[in-house]
Amino acid sequence: MPLTGLQIFKLLPNTNCRKCGYATCLAFAMKLAAGREALEKCPDASEEARAALGAASSPPIRGVTVGRGPRAITVGEETVFFRHEKTFVRRPGLFALLDAKGLSAAELDARLDQWRDTRIERAGETFQIDGVAVAEVPGSPEVGVKAAVAAAERGLPVAVLAATAEGAAAMAEKIKDQRPLLAPPAHAPDGLYANLAARLAIPLVVSARDLPGLAAAAVAAAHAGVADILLEPPGADLRALHHSLTAIRRGALDRIHPGLGHPVFLRVGAGEFEKAVLGIAKFASLLVLPGYGGENWLPLWTLRQNIYTDPQKPLQVQPGLYSIGEPHAGSPLLVTSNFSLTYFMVATEVEATGLACHLAVVDAEGLSVLTAWSAGKFSGERVAKNLRQMEAAARVKHRTVIIPGYVSVISGELEDALGEGWRVLVGPQEASDLAPFFKDVWSAIGAG
């Protein structure tokens, strides 16, 4: 449980010496309690104070790293229940399930190459398959071993989905230097897999039929020498799973049991898309997804992007001249702000009109059009400067620029700032009205 300011104050020397930069020990204690200062700033703090504060300030959920090298992924280290309280920090790892049974060597290579090379850029993030969950093939342990080695050789983090302790050992041993995650079958006997994970110094998934059992299993694994643990929550349906996920996060943040302070591991079966959606929104840290195509990956990647965006920062798009469709020198030139919500809205609506456009995204410091204008970030001068910087004039033969209806007041100033020959056209207030605007106004002026 985090300490309160008063509890911390009692641990400080109470000399008000100001060496920490604060007038009183109490003021410093309050900052410590809020997590805005470090105890190191107090040169006279006792060992007792350091120990007490150190324990209280250790992260409520430990970080766990799977894999090695550039694609290694660290999950956990979350500090809040609601993203708006601060932010969620570690995007959950989305692993693809690989059942190598019946695959030829060439097919295996092709699939792993494709997974390694899959990249989708979206709103400043690169979506990738974060790792491969290799299932043990019962009766043919060498198949799983080959697949695990092949995945690890490609630099992909590996989760070993074990069916037997022998199979698990065979797979994990071969790639132990790549820090694979060991996931035993559900409700495997305590100890068996923990000893293996401890010996190989790799992370381990623990599971149980209920939450007290799960917390106890995590403590037992730690005692067996496993340093990095993931919790597989019980839950036969979404409702039970949601209860587990919620209780684990709440219990970890409230520090009610040392066995709950670990990231969460979730297996998603075929036809369980909703489980993946819930898991991403609600605290799962590493998910194994079944043989999914892009129609499943893309929405899940996008949901993760949304949920793990830092709510404290306004989402910005890189300012610049964007092409919607394949615009030519006669296509309309539109201006908007670089607040991503605004940009997405305008881009989507423009796309829906079917008319290719040049979209000039002005540096408005991530504010929406109207807010930016009130803050002086969407003035005629500023818009003109941006248009010059992005060399908009070279991209269109007409000299007409369309501005959002909400800032019609800047049209005169913008016309002056752009100079001879330019004309400012006031567009609709809402991007959703662009279609009739193009139809009635743009086509009528014949600028294109």
Binding site: F82, A247, H257, G294, L298, L341, T348, D433
Partner: protein, 321 residues
């Protein structure tokens, strides 16, 4: 070490709002006294409702996957409503009077009344009526509908902070439920409910629409603002404890990711499944953040959400059956 999980209790309860009435079937929403879906520590007398959206005129911009379930009834509200309720199992229907927009057909308030009446005659469930959007036409259309359909307990979508008086007045006069829409802003949501209360609207006849950002297009803003609204409501704020309605289908199917065909973006996979997934991945987080009514477009998205919610609210369902 024993594991002790204490249930979290809250001072506040979400208001219960009853839709429909008179000769129409009634449905109640709200009434929960814990965080959304926290069935393990609170009571939820009503499960979230799933609505399907139908339109007065053939929709211009729905992707093929979204129009396919409506083949043969596009732009025929009565037939579409029957299909939504009898064929697809929607709890209720939202009729979007998009064709009354001055730029999208400019149909008259009388046309709108005729469409609403046709739907009311076709199906016995409560009806959400969505106007053409903010502006004078919104009031003209919805006020006429409200007047002509008194006693049906319609849900009028929607009034906003800048323009709420007309719709507040007709909602009170003719016994309808009013949706108060705010632009992803908790303070405005609260302010608008205060204004509505001052205008003599019974807040047990009000729903909040926090404005939905679709998946990839601001979903996280709506998600967090809804969580904050719900925390305030459960904390006891009587101006924020209205049930919430989200237009998830409309926002999901607007996304280019829900529409672009596979041959243009091979990595994105099959566009039909992708579109339905887009709708599910928009709607489910919203339910989890507190939506009591979710308006959808695709019956498969509805069926998939229904499967999950039926399990979740099994006791509730038994209670009302």
């Amino acid at each position: 070490m024993a594991l002790e999980l204490k249930p979290k209790k809250w001072p506040g309860t979400i208001r219960t709002v009853t839709l429909g009435g008179g000769r129409r079937r009634t449905l109640a929403v709200g009434g929960g006294n814990a965080l959304p879906l926290h069935a393990f520590e609170g009571s939820f007398p009503h499960r979230p409702l799933l609505a399907l959206e139908i339109t007065d005129t053939a929709p211009g911009r729905w992707p093929a996957a979204a129009t396919e379930p409506w083949q043969g009834v596009l732009g025929q509200p009565a037939a579409a409503a029957r299909r939504a309720v009898e064929g697809y199992g929607a709890d209720l229907v939202m009729l979007h009077l998009a064709g009354t927009h001055p730029d999208r057909g400019n149909r008259s308030p009388d046309d709108a009344v005729a469409d609403v009446r046709a739907v009311l005659d076709a199906v016995p469930v409560p009806l959400i009526v969505r106007g053409p959007g903010a502006g004078r036409k919104q009031n003209d259309v919805l006020a006429r509908v409200a007047e002509a359909c008194g006693g049906e307990g319609l849900v009028l979508h929607s009034a906003c902070q800048e323009d709420y008086r007309t719709l507040a007045a007709v909602a009170v006069a003719y016994g309808h439920v009013l949706v108060a829409e705010s632009p992803i802003d908790m303070n405005i949501a609260k302010q608008l409910n205060i204004l509505l209360a001052d205008a003599s609207v019974d807040l047990n006849r009000v729903l909040i629409d926090p404005l939905t950002g679709g998946l990839g297009y601001g979903l996280e803003y709506t998600y967090s603002v809804m969580q904050r609204i719900r925390l305030a409501a459960l904390g006891g704020d009587p101006m924020l404890n209205a049930p919430v309605v989200c237009l998830a289908g409309e926002e999901a199917w607007k996304a280019k990711e829900a529409a672009v065909p596979r041959d243009k973006e091979p990595l994105w996979g099959d566009e039909r499944t992708r579109g339905i997934n887009w709708e599910v991945a928009t709607a489910l987080p919203l339910v989890e953040a507190g939506a009591e009514i979710v308006v959808l477009r695709h019956p498969e998205a509805l069926a998939r959400l229904r499967r999950q919610l039926d399990g979740w609210f099994a006791e509730t369902n038994r209670g009302v059956a």
